[in-house]
């Protein structure tokens, strides 16, 4: 969208001001994520840019990998201090987060896909109500969800168990799967199901040979959303996990509140990289899905 050549100087000024404003907003969106990366390589035990890091030419003394080593549990004596103890809490947290995340994703993806397939049938009764209930965990504040789940799971003795956390995460993650799969089902030609059935395929075979390949991109991106939701969730874990059930977000929360150490930033940097990977995967899948369904992009 360029300016026409006949634009007046005032219009030009407005136009450049507008572009500048947009750049500022983009900067506002992305700057915090960029800023943490260099600080995580700092030597200093405080989360800030030291003079050495800003010096030119760069001072190699000011940079180090010590916090990364600390994060994976490799500690040399100098990086262990009273404020930043060396512990492999982060690695335990990673394992737990992955475990909870993967199981919750598998369940949520299965349930969400089935729900979306059911909801997309034209003759489904109470479609609107079911849809809004299904979506509501996305909108209801997490603190309310966790309060309710805490009370309820306390009653059925699921508090402080992995089962409880996983079930809670499934409830949170399912809406994302429902939404993405529903989106791929738009423009789905139901005649294909009829065709397959009239050619003698059983419903099971129809599902795996016809429906599944077509909705697969939606299912996968839904699964990725579900995974990141569970992987990133802290409030429920805080209420429902026992002290030794660490996850990455819980550890980060504790880190921000108590021991402010650059190890948090190392983990944050890793998570930013993870989100870049997930984002690109989802983007690729979306384009592929649009191609598959013959919907031209935009």
């Amino acid at each position: 969208m360029a300016l026409p050549s006949y634009a007046t100087p005032i219009q030009r000024t407005y136009y450049y001001a507008y572009l500048f404003f947009c750049c500022v907003v983009f900067f506002f969106l992305i700057a915090p994520l960029i800023a943490i990366v260099p600080i995580s390589f700092s030597v200093s035990p405080f989360m800030l840019f030291t003079d050495g890091m800003l010096a030119w030419p760069p001072d190699p003394e000011a940079w180090s990998l010590r916090w990364y080593k600390n994060m994976v549990g490799m500690c040399d004596s100098e990086s262990v201090s009273s404020t930043v103890p060396c512990a492999n809490k982060w690695m335990i947290g990673t394992v737990n987060s992955l475990f909870i995340g993967i199981i919750a994703t598998l369940i949520a993806t299965t349930l969400g896909t089935i729900a979306a397939l059911g909801l997309s049938r034209p003759n489904m009764p109470f479609k609107g109500i079911i849809m809004s209930i299904l979506i509501s965990p996305m909108i209801v504040p997490l603190i309310i969800t966790s309060a309710g789940m805490f009370f309820f799971y306390a009653r059925i003795n699921l508090v402080y168990t992995f089962t409880g956390i996983i079930l809670a995460h499934v409830a949170l993650a399912t809406p994302f799967v429902v939404i993405t799969v529903t989106a791929t089902l738009v423009g789905f030609d139901t005649n294909m199901i009829k065709a397959s059935q009239s050619l003698g395929a059983r419903p099971f075979r129809t599902f795996f040979k016809i429906i599944m390949p077509l909705i697969l991109p939606g299912v996968i991106s839904g699964a990725l959303f579900a995974f990141i939701t569970s992987f990133d969730e802290v409030v429920i874990v805080m209420f429902m996990a026992s002290l030794d059930q660490l996850t990455i977000p819980k550890q980060m929360w504790a880190g921000i509140r108590q021991e402010i150490s650059p190890v948090i930033l190392c983990m944050a940097t890793c998570l930013v990289i993870l989100s870049i990977i997930l984002l690109s995967t989802v983007e690729l899948l979306r384009r592929r899905s649009e191609k598959l369904r013959g919907v031209s992009p935009h």
Partner: protein
């Protein structure tokens, strides 16, 4: 689904449920209801109370005491002292002739009618007291609903603050999001896809990562203060305090919720034909007028969708205010968590949650009316 709807329902019942105390003192309350509420209760009430304190389970009584203290402070110590003495009497085997006089002998507070009036709040299985507490109200001695004492008022101010912060955040999101969405919608696809990453990446990044990042940016020795000092705008001593207060909360929440505003706006602006603006200008409208009269009205669905979404998410926000907000930036979510985890006043936590839920559902319903819930898109 069961794992979501039932817990919420369970929480709602807790917000008005008062049955626990009724299982501890059933006879006392039964006799209490027969009392004409004048002077002091009759002997039968004292007798029932005596017996139920003497033979009740200790844990159950303990739980009931916590509840009794919510309606009038002083109950807990009164009952604890009394039941200790009652246990002694029961052990000695000499049962008193007048239970009323015995109890008053043990502690003269039993002759204080205000305690007995306060008991009236608890005799029903359901109670509105948690809701009144959540709105800074309580019962006075005559059982009228009144405002809490000045120094105990807390929640109304927090509710107002929650709304204020949410409105600020929504407003800033519209102001910042509108031009960006406009730019993204009007650029050629090649560029807008690249710029879209700037919007989607924060959307995909962990909330805690972004919150941590904002603490790093905003703290006294943080990046923003450094830059301002370096540019000479601030002196080294005059560094701004931007984190651990309301300003920090608003800044961080705006950035975190901005993608939720840009994405709906973008999808609406994408389908507005560019020819409309040109047509308006051809007909003689100045660009500003054409924008105001032709373009802006067409973006209203997007703005209301994004605005409602941001507002709804903002009023229930917990993580960011808790970490960035310090003392001054706490929103209502903080108190729900506090009563859930620290003070263990679950009834009050549920009542606060229920009020928040109702407010949220109203906006959710509005959103559904205006936008339609199945139109939510991710990325």
């Amino acid at each position: 689904m069961v794992t979501f709807v039932i817990p919420i329902g369970d929480m709602l019942t807790r917000s008005y449920d008062d049955s626990q105390i009724n299982t501890v003192f059933p006879n006392t309350f039964e006799e209490y209801k027969k009392w004409d509420k004048k002077d002091l209760p009759p002997e039968a009430v004292y007798k029932a109370l005596f017996e139920e304190l003497a033979y009740g389970k200790k844990i159950q009584i303990g739980r009931a005491l916590t509840r009794m203290n919510y309606s009038k402070s002083g109950w807990k110590s009164l009952i604890k002292k009394t039941s200790r003495d009652i246990k002694k009497i029961v052990k000695s085997g000499e049962f008193p002739l007048s239970y009323k006089n015995t109890l008053i002998d043990i502690n003269e507070d039993w002759a204080d009618p205000t305690f007995w009036y306060a008991m009236g709040q608890m005799t029903n299985e359901i109670t509105p007291i948690y809701y009144w507490n959540a709105l800074d109200r309580t019962y006075d001695d005559q059982q009228n609903v009144v405002l809490q004492e000045e120094n105990r008022r807390l929640y109304m101010a927090t509710w107002i603050k929650t709304f204020k912060v949410s409105i600020y955040v929504t407003f800033f999101c519209i102001v910042l999001g509108f031009p960006v969405a406009h730019l993204l919608a009007n650029l050629p696809l090649r560029y807008s896809n690249i710029l879209m990453i700037f919007v989607l990446l924060p959307f995909w990044t962990s909330l805690l990562v972004r919150t941590t990042a904002w603490i790093v940016m905003l703290q006294r020795n943080g990046v923003i203060n450094d830059v301002l000092v370096w540019l000479g705008i601030l002196s080294d001593e005059g560094r701004l305090q931007m984190v651990y207060n309301q300003t920090g909360t608003i800044i961080a929440m705006t950035q975190i919720l901005l993608p939720f505003m840009i994405l709906p706006l973008y999808s609406v602006m994408k389908v507005i034909p560019k020819s409309h603006m040109r047509a308006a200008q051809n007909l003689g409208a100045k660009p500003a007028l054409a924008f105001w009269k032709v373009y802006l009205p067409q973006t209203i669905p997007g703005m209301s969708a994004g605005g409602l979404l941001v507002f709804v998410l903002a009023i229930g926000y917990f993580i960011t205010p808790e970490l960035v907000g310090g003392k001054d930036g706490q929103l209502i979510g903080h108190w729900i968590a506090y009563h859930l985890k620290t003070s263990l006043n679950w009834g009050l936590a549920s009542a606060l949650g229920a009020i928040l839920l109702v407010i949220m559902l109203i906006f959710y319903w509005l959103y559904n009316k205006i936008v339609g819930i199945d139109n939510i898109k991710l990325g």
